[in-house]
Protein backbone atom coordinates (compact mmCIF):
# COMPACT_ATOMS: atom_id res chain seq x y z
CA UNK A 1 0.00 0.00 0.00
CA UNK A 2 2.75 2.39 0.98
CA UNK A 3 4.50 1.56 -2.25
CA UNK A 4 1.38 2.18 -4.26
CA UNK A 5 0.91 5.57 -2.68
CA UNK A 6 4.52 6.43 -3.36
CA UNK A 7 4.16 5.34 -7.00
CA UNK A 8 1.06 7.41 -7.55
CA UNK A 9 2.59 10.47 -5.92
CA UNK A 10 5.79 10.33 -7.96
CA UNK A 11 3.68 9.60 -11.03
CA UNK A 12 1.61 12.71 -10.48
CA UNK A 13 4.69 14.84 -9.93
CA UNK A 14 6.13 13.55 -13.18
CA UNK A 15 2.91 14.42 -15.02
CA UNK A 16 2.98 17.87 -13.46
CA UNK A 17 6.56 18.39 -14.59
CA UNK A 18 5.82 17.20 -18.11
CA UNK A 19 2.83 19.52 -18.38
CA UNK A 20 4.71 22.61 -17.32
CA UNK A 21 7.42 21.67 -19.83
CA UNK A 22 4.65 21.54 -22.37
CA UNK A 23 3.62 25.07 -21.45
CA UNK A 24 6.97 26.44 -22.45
CA UNK A 25 6.88 24.52 -25.71
CA UNK A 26 3.34 25.50 -26.70
CA UNK A 27 3.13 28.71 -28.69
CA UNK A 28 -0.20 30.19 -29.61
CA UNK A 29 -0.89 32.59 -32.44
CA UNK A 30 0.01 36.18 -31.55
CA UNK A 31 -2.81 37.82 -29.63
CA UNK A 32 -3.41 40.75 -32.00
CA UNK A 33 -3.70 38.48 -35.06
CA UNK A 34 -6.08 36.34 -33.06
CA UNK A 35 -8.24 39.30 -32.04
CA UNK A 36 -8.45 40.52 -35.62
CA UNK A 37 -9.18 37.07 -37.01
CA UNK A 38 -11.96 36.36 -34.51
CA UNK A 39 -13.16 39.95 -34.15
CA UNK A 40 -13.17 39.45 -30.40
CA UNK A 41 -11.34 41.12 -27.54
CA UNK A 42 -11.17 38.67 -24.66
CA UNK A 43 -11.36 40.21 -21.19
CA UNK A 44 -11.20 38.43 -17.86
CA UNK A 45 -12.72 40.24 -14.90
CA UNK A 46 -14.45 39.82 -11.56
CA UNK A 47 -17.96 41.00 -10.78
CA UNK A 48 -17.40 41.86 -7.12
CA UNK A 49 -15.70 45.20 -7.73
CA UNK A 50 -18.33 47.93 -7.81
CA UNK A 51 -18.35 50.53 -9.30
CA UNK A 52 -15.87 49.15 -11.81
CA UNK A 53 -17.46 45.81 -12.41
CA UNK A 54 -20.57 44.34 -10.79
CA UNK A 55 -23.98 42.72 -11.24
CA UNK A 56 -26.88 45.10 -10.66
CA UNK A 57 -30.09 44.08 -8.88
CA UNK A 58 -31.72 43.23 -12.21
CA UNK A 59 -28.99 40.71 -12.93
CA UNK A 60 -27.17 42.84 -15.52
CA UNK A 61 -23.36 42.98 -15.68
CA UNK A 62 -22.54 46.71 -15.51
CA UNK A 63 -19.92 49.22 -14.41
CA UNK A 64 -17.06 51.49 -15.40
CA UNK A 65 -15.21 48.62 -17.10
CA UNK A 66 -18.16 47.62 -19.24
CA UNK A 67 -18.62 51.14 -20.61
CA UNK A 68 -14.92 51.63 -21.13
CA UNK A 69 -14.36 48.31 -22.91
CA UNK A 70 -17.46 48.91 -25.01
CA UNK A 71 -15.92 52.20 -26.15
CA UNK A 72 -12.58 50.47 -26.84
CA UNK A 73 -14.30 47.70 -28.76
CA UNK A 74 -16.22 50.23 -30.83
CA UNK A 75 -13.05 52.13 -31.72
CA UNK A 76 -11.23 48.92 -32.63
CA UNK A 77 -14.20 47.36 -34.43
CA UNK A 78 -14.27 44.22 -32.31
CA UNK A 79 -16.72 42.53 -30.00
CA UNK A 80 -15.82 42.29 -26.31
CA UNK A 81 -16.31 39.00 -24.47
CA UNK A 82 -16.00 38.50 -20.73
CA UNK A 83 -14.81 35.64 -18.58
CA UNK A 84 -16.12 36.19 -15.05
CA UNK A 85 -13.90 34.68 -12.38
CA UNK A 86 -13.32 35.12 -8.66
CA UNK A 87 -10.56 37.71 -8.25
CA UNK A 88 -7.81 35.25 -7.40
CA UNK A 89 -8.58 33.34 -10.60
CA UNK A 90 -7.84 36.30 -12.88
CA UNK A 91 -4.04 36.22 -13.08
CA UNK A 92 -3.89 32.41 -13.42
CA UNK A 93 -6.53 32.69 -16.17
CA UNK A 94 -4.47 35.34 -17.97
CA UNK A 95 -1.36 33.16 -17.80
CA UNK A 96 -3.36 30.19 -19.04
CA UNK A 97 -4.35 32.39 -22.06
CA UNK A 98 -8.02 32.21 -21.20
CA UNK A 99 -8.18 35.91 -22.14
CA UNK A 100 -5.76 38.65 -23.16
CA UNK A 101 -6.54 41.49 -20.78
CA UNK A 102 -7.53 41.54 -17.12
CA UNK A 103 -10.26 44.02 -16.19
CA UNK A 104 -10.64 44.59 -12.51
CA UNK A 105 -8.84 47.03 -12.62
CA UNK A 106 -5.80 46.04 -10.56
CA UNK A 107 -3.54 48.18 -8.43
CA UNK A 108 -0.29 48.87 -10.25
CA UNK A 109 2.41 47.34 -8.03
CA UNK A 110 6.10 46.59 -8.46
CA UNK A 111 5.61 42.84 -8.12
CA UNK A 112 2.86 42.78 -10.75
CA UNK A 113 4.84 45.07 -13.09
CA UNK A 114 7.70 42.63 -13.01
CA UNK A 115 5.47 39.90 -14.33
CA UNK A 116 2.76 41.65 -16.34
CA UNK A 117 2.33 44.68 -18.56
CA UNK A 118 -0.08 47.36 -17.38
CA UNK A 119 -1.98 49.70 -19.68
CA UNK A 120 -2.02 53.39 -18.63
CA UNK A 121 -3.93 53.89 -15.37
CA UNK A 122 -7.68 54.47 -15.48
CA UNK A 123 -8.18 55.58 -11.89
CA UNK A 124 -6.50 56.21 -8.62
CA UNK A 125 -6.48 53.20 -6.31
CA UNK A 126 -5.23 54.52 -2.99
CA UNK A 127 -6.53 52.38 -0.17
CA UNK A 128 -9.10 53.72 2.27
CA UNK A 129 -11.17 52.12 5.02
CA UNK A 130 -14.90 51.55 5.10
CA UNK A 131 -16.60 51.34 8.50
CA UNK A 132 -20.12 50.96 9.82
CA UNK A 133 -21.99 54.25 9.90
CA UNK A 134 -21.68 55.91 13.26
CA UNK A 135 -18.95 53.64 14.61
CA UNK A 136 -17.29 56.26 16.80
CA UNK A 137 -14.44 53.96 17.78
CA UNK A 138 -12.89 54.58 14.36
CA UNK A 139 -12.36 58.20 13.37
CA UNK A 140 -8.99 57.86 11.67
CA UNK A 141 -7.29 54.89 9.96
CA UNK A 142 -4.97 54.13 12.92
CA UNK A 143 -8.02 53.47 15.12
CA UNK A 144 -8.32 49.97 13.67
CA UNK A 145 -5.39 48.94 15.90
CA UNK A 146 -6.29 45.77 17.79
CA UNK A 147 -9.52 45.19 15.82
CA UNK A 148 -10.34 42.71 13.05
CA UNK A 149 -10.46 44.13 9.53
CA UNK A 150 -11.03 42.61 6.08
CA UNK A 151 -9.75 42.84 2.52
CA UNK A 152 -9.87 40.86 -0.73
CA UNK A 153 -7.72 37.76 -0.91
CA UNK A 154 -4.59 38.13 -3.07
CA UNK A 155 -5.29 41.85 -3.59
CA UNK A 156 -2.81 44.71 -3.42
CA UNK A 157 -5.20 46.38 -0.99
CA UNK A 158 -4.69 43.45 1.34
CA UNK A 159 -0.91 43.81 1.11
CA UNK A 160 -1.16 47.52 1.95
CA UNK A 161 -3.55 46.89 4.79
CA UNK A 162 -1.14 44.31 6.16
CA UNK A 163 1.81 46.72 5.92
CA UNK A 164 -0.27 49.42 7.60
CA UNK A 165 -1.45 47.26 10.49
CA UNK A 166 2.13 46.19 11.18
CA UNK A 167 2.92 49.80 12.06
CA UNK A 168 0.07 49.85 14.59
CA UNK A 169 0.30 48.86 18.25
CA UNK A 170 -1.32 45.61 19.38
CA UNK A 171 -2.44 42.73 17.20
CA UNK A 172 -4.75 43.74 14.39
CA UNK A 173 -6.07 40.69 12.59
CA UNK A 174 -6.94 40.70 8.92
CA UNK A 175 -9.51 38.45 7.33
CA UNK A 176 -9.08 37.60 3.65
CA UNK A 177 -12.18 37.41 1.43
CA UNK A 178 -12.70 35.69 -1.89
CA UNK A 179 -14.90 38.62 -2.96
CA UNK A 180 -15.15 42.19 -1.71
CA UNK A 181 -18.93 41.93 -1.40
CA UNK A 182 -18.55 39.27 1.27
CA UNK A 183 -16.21 41.59 3.16
CA UNK A 184 -18.81 44.39 3.01
CA UNK A 185 -21.50 41.97 4.17
CA UNK A 186 -19.35 40.94 7.13
CA UNK A 187 -18.75 44.57 7.99
CA UNK A 188 -22.48 45.24 7.94
CA UNK A 189 -23.02 42.15 10.11
CA UNK A 190 -20.49 43.43 12.63
CA UNK A 191 -18.02 40.58 12.21
CA UNK A 192 -15.23 42.95 11.26
CA UNK A 193 -14.59 46.60 12.13
CA UNK A 194 -13.51 47.87 8.71
CA UNK A 195 -12.81 46.86 5.10
CA UNK A 196 -9.73 48.08 3.26
CA UNK A 197 -10.24 48.71 -0.43
CA UNK A 198 -9.45 51.44 -2.92
CA UNK A 199 -11.08 54.81 -2.31
CA UNK A 200 -13.29 54.63 -5.43
CA UNK A 201 -14.64 51.25 -4.31
CA UNK A 202 -15.41 52.08 -0.70
CA UNK A 203 -16.73 55.49 -1.64
CA UNK A 204 -19.16 53.90 -4.08
CA UNK A 205 -20.33 51.38 -1.50
CA UNK A 206 -20.84 54.16 1.06
CA UNK A 207 -22.89 56.26 -1.36
CA UNK A 208 -25.02 53.24 -2.29
CA UNK A 209 -25.81 52.39 1.34
CA UNK A 210 -25.31 55.58 3.32
CA UNK A 211 -27.35 54.30 6.29
CA UNK A 212 -25.01 51.35 6.70
CA UNK A 213 -21.50 52.41 5.72
CA UNK A 214 -19.17 55.35 5.98
CA UNK A 215 -15.68 56.02 4.57
CA UNK A 216 -12.88 56.70 7.05
CA UNK A 217 -11.00 59.72 5.74
CA UNK A 218 -8.27 60.29 4.80
CA UNK A 219 -7.17 57.22 2.78
CA UNK A 220 -4.29 55.61 4.65
CA UNK A 221 -2.36 53.91 1.88
CA UNK A 222 0.40 55.10 -0.39
CA UNK A 223 -0.80 56.76 -3.56
CA UNK A 224 -1.46 54.06 -6.15
CA UNK A 225 -3.18 53.74 -9.51
CA UNK A 226 -5.53 51.23 -11.06
CA UNK A 227 -4.83 49.74 -14.46
CA UNK A 228 -5.70 46.86 -16.77
CA UNK A 229 -2.97 44.36 -17.47
CA UNK A 230 -1.90 41.75 -19.97
CA UNK A 231 0.89 39.22 -20.42
CA UNK A 232 4.42 40.48 -20.83
CA UNK A 233 5.41 38.10 -23.63
CA UNK A 234 6.17 38.93 -27.25
CA UNK A 235 2.89 37.37 -28.42
CA UNK A 236 0.82 39.83 -26.45
CA UNK A 237 2.90 42.95 -27.13
CA UNK A 238 1.29 43.98 -30.44
CA UNK A 239 -2.21 43.64 -28.98
CA UNK A 240 -1.33 45.59 -25.86
CA UNK A 241 0.27 48.33 -28.01
CA UNK A 242 -3.00 48.66 -29.91
CA UNK A 243 -5.08 48.66 -26.71
CA UNK A 244 -2.78 51.22 -25.12
CA UNK A 245 -3.16 53.58 -28.09
CA UNK A 246 -6.94 53.14 -28.03
CA UNK A 247 -7.07 53.79 -24.29
CA UNK A 248 -4.95 56.94 -24.63
CA UNK A 249 -7.39 58.13 -27.28
CA UNK A 250 -10.27 57.75 -24.80
CA UNK A 251 -8.19 59.66 -22.29
CA UNK A 252 -7.38 62.46 -24.74
CA UNK A 253 -10.93 63.03 -26.02
CA UNK A 254 -12.42 63.15 -22.52
CA UNK A 255 -14.41 59.94 -22.67
CA UNK A 256 -12.32 58.44 -19.86
CA UNK A 257 -12.99 61.45 -17.62
CA UNK A 258 -16.69 61.16 -18.48
CA UNK A 259 -16.77 57.55 -17.36
CA UNK A 260 -14.96 58.46 -14.15
CA UNK A 261 -17.59 61.10 -13.43
CA UNK A 262 -20.44 58.69 -14.15
CA UNK A 263 -19.17 55.78 -12.09
CA UNK A 264 -16.76 57.19 -9.53
CA UNK A 265 -18.45 60.55 -9.02
CA UNK A 266 -15.55 62.75 -10.06
CA UNK A 267 -12.91 62.90 -12.78
CA UNK A 268 -9.59 61.66 -11.56
CA UNK A 269 -6.11 62.87 -12.34
CA UNK A 270 -4.16 59.94 -13.79
CA UNK A 271 -0.75 59.96 -15.51
CA UNK A 272 -0.51 59.23 -19.23
CA UNK A 273 1.84 56.33 -18.71
CA UNK A 274 2.47 53.89 -15.89
CA UNK A 275 4.82 55.50 -13.39
CA UNK A 276 7.10 53.69 -10.96
CA UNK A 277 4.72 52.42 -8.27
CA UNK A 278 5.27 53.16 -4.59
CA UNK A 279 4.15 49.71 -3.53
Amino acid sequence: MKRRLFCTLTGATAVAGAMSGFSRAARAQDALTQMKANGVLRIGTETAFAPFDFIDPSGKHVGFNLDLFAALGKDLGVKVTYTLLPFEGLLPGLEARRFDLVGGPLTITKARMERYRFLPPVSEGTVALLKRRGDSSITKPADIAGKTVGAGKASAQLAQLRAFTETLPGKTSIREYVGNNEAYADLAAGRIAAVGNSFPNVNYVATQRPQVFEVVTPPFGKKTYFGYLGRKDADSAPLLDVLQAALLKLRADGRLAGLQKTWIGQSIETPEAVTAPEV
Partner: protein, 220 residues
Protein backbone atom coordinates in the same frame (compact mmCIF):
# COMPACT_ATOMS: atom_id res chain seq x y z
CA UNK B 1 8.50 23.63 -12.81
CA UNK B 2 9.21 26.86 -11.04
CA UNK B 3 7.97 25.77 -7.67
CA UNK B 4 10.56 26.82 -5.19
CA UNK B 5 11.10 24.49 -2.28
CA UNK B 6 12.46 27.48 -0.38
CA UNK B 7 9.10 29.22 -0.78
CA UNK B 8 7.24 26.25 0.65
CA UNK B 9 9.76 26.08 3.44
CA UNK B 10 9.53 29.76 4.31
CA UNK B 11 5.73 29.56 4.46
CA UNK B 12 5.72 26.26 6.33
CA UNK B 13 4.09 27.75 9.46
CA UNK B 14 1.13 28.97 7.36
CA UNK B 15 0.86 25.66 5.52
CA UNK B 16 1.01 23.65 8.72
CA UNK B 17 -1.51 25.97 10.36
CA UNK B 18 -3.92 25.42 7.46
CA UNK B 19 -3.27 21.70 7.53
CA UNK B 20 -3.89 21.58 11.29
CA UNK B 21 -7.15 23.48 10.96
CA UNK B 22 -8.31 21.16 8.17
CA UNK B 23 -7.60 18.16 10.40
CA UNK B 24 -9.30 19.70 13.45
CA UNK B 25 -12.43 20.69 11.53
CA UNK B 26 -12.56 17.31 9.86
CA UNK B 27 -12.14 15.25 13.06
CA UNK B 28 -14.26 17.42 15.36
CA UNK B 29 -16.90 17.85 12.65
CA UNK B 30 -17.07 14.11 12.00
CA UNK B 31 -17.31 13.23 15.71
CA UNK B 32 -20.01 15.82 16.29
CA UNK B 33 -21.73 14.80 13.05
CA UNK B 34 -21.74 11.15 14.05
CA UNK B 35 -23.17 11.99 17.48
CA UNK B 36 -25.84 14.23 15.99
CA UNK B 37 -26.58 11.79 13.17
CA UNK B 38 -26.99 8.97 15.67
CA UNK B 39 -29.30 11.07 17.82
CA UNK B 40 -31.41 11.95 14.78
CA UNK B 41 -31.63 8.32 13.72
CA UNK B 42 -32.67 7.22 17.22
CA UNK B 43 -35.25 10.00 17.54
CA UNK B 44 -36.70 9.23 14.13
CA UNK B 45 -37.02 5.59 15.11
CA UNK B 46 -38.45 6.04 18.59
CA UNK B 47 -40.31 9.36 18.74
CA UNK B 48 -43.18 9.28 16.28
CA UNK B 49 -43.81 13.03 16.22
CA UNK B 50 -40.22 13.82 15.29
CA UNK B 51 -39.88 11.52 12.32
CA UNK B 52 -41.37 13.87 9.73
CA UNK B 53 -39.67 17.13 10.74
CA UNK B 54 -36.30 15.41 11.09
CA UNK B 55 -36.77 13.62 7.77
CA UNK B 56 -37.52 16.97 6.14
CA UNK B 57 -34.40 18.52 7.65
CA UNK B 58 -32.23 15.61 6.42
CA UNK B 59 -33.84 15.82 3.00
CA UNK B 60 -33.01 19.51 2.69
CA UNK B 61 -29.41 18.97 3.78
CA UNK B 62 -28.93 16.09 1.38
CA UNK B 63 -30.69 17.79 -1.52
CA UNK B 64 -28.85 21.12 -1.53
CA UNK B 65 -25.19 21.98 -2.13
CA UNK B 66 -22.89 22.29 0.87
CA UNK B 67 -21.83 25.69 -0.44
CA UNK B 68 -25.41 27.01 -0.41
CA UNK B 69 -25.84 25.75 3.16
CA UNK B 70 -22.66 27.53 4.18
CA UNK B 71 -23.74 30.76 2.47
CA UNK B 72 -27.12 30.61 4.19
CA UNK B 73 -25.52 30.06 7.56
CA UNK B 74 -22.69 32.53 7.16
CA UNK B 75 -24.17 35.37 5.10
CA UNK B 76 -27.84 34.82 5.86
CA UNK B 77 -27.28 34.15 9.57
CA UNK B 78 -26.63 37.78 10.62
CA UNK B 79 -30.07 38.73 9.28
CA UNK B 80 -31.69 36.49 11.87
CA UNK B 81 -29.29 37.47 14.63
CA UNK B 82 -26.84 34.60 14.13
CA UNK B 83 -23.48 36.19 13.42
CA UNK B 84 -20.82 33.48 13.53
CA UNK B 85 -17.09 33.72 12.95
CA UNK B 86 -15.87 31.85 9.83
CA UNK B 87 -14.31 28.94 11.72
CA UNK B 88 -17.38 28.51 13.94
CA UNK B 89 -19.75 28.79 10.99
CA UNK B 90 -17.58 26.41 8.97
CA UNK B 91 -17.43 23.82 11.74
CA UNK B 92 -21.16 24.09 12.43
CA UNK B 93 -22.06 23.87 8.74
CA UNK B 94 -19.73 20.93 8.25
CA UNK B 95 -21.16 19.11 11.28
CA UNK B 96 -24.76 19.60 10.16
CA UNK B 97 -23.89 18.50 6.65
CA UNK B 98 -22.12 15.36 7.85
CA UNK B 99 -24.87 14.58 10.37
CA UNK B 100 -27.43 14.22 7.56
CA UNK B 101 -25.35 11.52 5.90
CA UNK B 102 -24.40 9.79 9.13
CA UNK B 103 -28.04 9.65 10.24
CA UNK B 104 -29.00 7.90 6.98
CA UNK B 105 -26.23 5.36 7.56
CA UNK B 106 -27.46 4.70 11.10
CA UNK B 107 -31.05 4.43 9.92
CA UNK B 108 -30.07 1.77 7.40
CA UNK B 109 -28.06 0.08 10.16
CA UNK B 110 -31.04 -0.02 12.53
CA UNK B 111 -33.16 -1.54 9.79
CA UNK B 112 -30.53 -4.22 9.17
CA UNK B 113 -30.41 -5.56 12.71
CA UNK B 114 -32.13 -8.95 12.47
CA UNK B 115 -35.64 -8.82 13.91
CA UNK B 116 -35.04 -12.17 15.63
CA UNK B 117 -32.27 -10.76 17.82
CA UNK B 118 -34.61 -8.08 19.15
CA UNK B 119 -37.35 -10.64 19.74
CA UNK B 120 -34.86 -12.86 21.53
CA UNK B 121 -34.06 -9.95 23.83
CA UNK B 122 -37.76 -9.39 24.47
CA UNK B 123 -38.24 -13.05 25.31
CA UNK B 124 -35.41 -12.83 27.82
CA UNK B 125 -37.29 -9.99 29.50
CA UNK B 126 -34.91 -7.16 28.62
CA UNK B 127 -36.39 -3.66 28.73
CA UNK B 128 -36.60 -1.55 25.56
CA UNK B 129 -33.67 0.53 26.79
CA UNK B 130 -31.62 -2.58 27.46
CA UNK B 131 -32.45 -4.00 24.05
CA UNK B 132 -31.37 -0.74 22.46
CA UNK B 133 -28.14 -0.53 24.45
CA UNK B 134 -27.16 -4.18 24.56
CA UNK B 135 -28.38 -5.56 21.26
CA UNK B 136 -29.36 -3.04 18.62
CA UNK B 137 -26.60 -0.45 19.01
CA UNK B 138 -23.63 -2.86 19.21
CA UNK B 139 -24.86 -4.93 16.29
CA UNK B 140 -25.63 -1.89 14.24
CA UNK B 141 -22.26 -0.32 14.99
CA UNK B 142 -20.49 -3.26 13.42
CA UNK B 143 -22.87 -3.37 10.45
CA UNK B 144 -22.52 0.31 9.56
CA UNK B 145 -18.77 0.53 10.09
CA UNK B 146 -17.70 0.27 6.43
CA UNK B 147 -20.22 2.91 5.32
CA UNK B 148 -19.24 5.13 8.25
CA UNK B 149 -15.53 4.91 7.46
CA UNK B 150 -16.20 5.59 3.79
CA UNK B 151 -18.24 8.71 4.66
CA UNK B 152 -15.63 10.01 7.09
CA UNK B 153 -12.95 9.71 4.43
CA UNK B 154 -15.14 11.41 1.80
CA UNK B 155 -15.88 14.30 4.13
CA UNK B 156 -12.17 15.09 4.45
CA UNK B 157 -11.98 16.71 1.05
CA UNK B 158 -15.31 18.49 1.48
CA UNK B 159 -13.55 20.74 4.00
CA UNK B 160 -11.85 22.47 1.03
CA UNK B 161 -15.15 24.24 0.31
CA UNK B 162 -14.82 26.09 3.62
CA UNK B 163 -12.08 28.21 2.02
CA UNK B 164 -14.87 30.07 0.18
CA UNK B 165 -16.20 31.48 3.45
CA UNK B 166 -12.64 32.50 4.46
CA UNK B 167 -11.88 29.66 6.87
CA UNK B 168 -8.05 29.67 6.86
CA UNK B 169 -7.71 25.92 6.22
CA UNK B 170 -5.32 24.16 3.89
CA UNK B 171 -6.89 25.17 0.55
CA UNK B 172 -7.15 28.81 1.62
CA UNK B 173 -3.56 28.96 2.87
CA UNK B 174 -1.88 27.22 -0.06
CA UNK B 175 -3.89 29.03 -2.73
CA UNK B 176 -3.14 32.36 -1.03
CA UNK B 177 0.58 31.57 -1.10
CA UNK B 178 0.22 30.62 -4.77
CA UNK B 179 -1.56 33.90 -5.59
CA UNK B 180 0.86 36.11 -3.73
CA UNK B 181 3.85 34.55 -5.44
CA UNK B 182 2.32 34.01 -8.89
CA UNK B 183 2.78 30.23 -8.72
CA UNK B 184 -0.82 29.30 -9.45
CA UNK B 185 -0.75 25.92 -11.13
CA UNK B 186 2.08 24.72 -8.92
CA UNK B 187 0.12 25.52 -5.77
CA UNK B 188 -2.85 23.61 -7.20
CA UNK B 189 -0.66 20.57 -7.77
CA UNK B 190 0.63 20.83 -4.24
CA UNK B 191 -2.96 20.98 -2.96
CA UNK B 192 -4.02 18.01 -5.06
CA UNK B 193 -1.11 15.92 -3.76
CA UNK B 194 -1.76 17.00 -0.18
CA UNK B 195 -5.42 15.96 -0.25
CA UNK B 196 -4.79 12.83 -2.23
CA UNK B 197 -2.20 11.67 0.30
CA UNK B 198 -4.45 12.59 3.24
CA UNK B 199 -7.44 10.72 1.78
CA UNK B 200 -5.31 7.65 0.97
CA UNK B 201 -3.85 7.59 4.48
CA UNK B 202 -7.26 8.10 6.08
CA UNK B 203 -8.70 5.34 3.89
CA UNK B 204 -5.88 3.01 4.89
CA UNK B 205 -6.40 3.73 8.59
CA UNK B 206 -10.13 3.16 8.12
CA UNK B 207 -9.54 -0.23 6.52
CA UNK B 208 -7.28 -1.25 9.40
CA UNK B 209 -10.02 -0.33 11.85
CA UNK B 210 -12.56 -2.28 9.84
CA UNK B 211 -10.39 -5.39 9.84
CA UNK B 212 -9.91 -5.12 13.61
CA UNK B 213 -13.63 -4.80 14.24
CA UNK B 214 -14.79 -7.30 11.63
CA UNK B 215 -14.39 -10.12 14.13
CA UNK B 216 -17.35 -8.70 16.03
CA UNK B 217 -19.65 -9.00 13.04
CA UNK B 218 -22.84 -10.74 14.19
CA UNK B 219 -23.76 -14.02 12.63
CA UNK B 220 -26.76 -13.57 10.34
Amino acid sequence: MSFDIGLIWSRMPDILGGFGLTLVIWLVGCLAGIALGFLVAVLRRNVAGLNIPLAAWMEVTRGTPFLIQLFLLYFGGPFIGLSLEPITAGLLGFTLYGAAYFSEIFRAGFAAVPRGHIEAGECLGLSQGQIMRRIIVPEMAVLVLPALVNMIVLLLKETAVLSIITVPELTMMISAIGSENFVFVESLFLLALFYWAMVEIAGWLGRQAEVKLASFRPAT
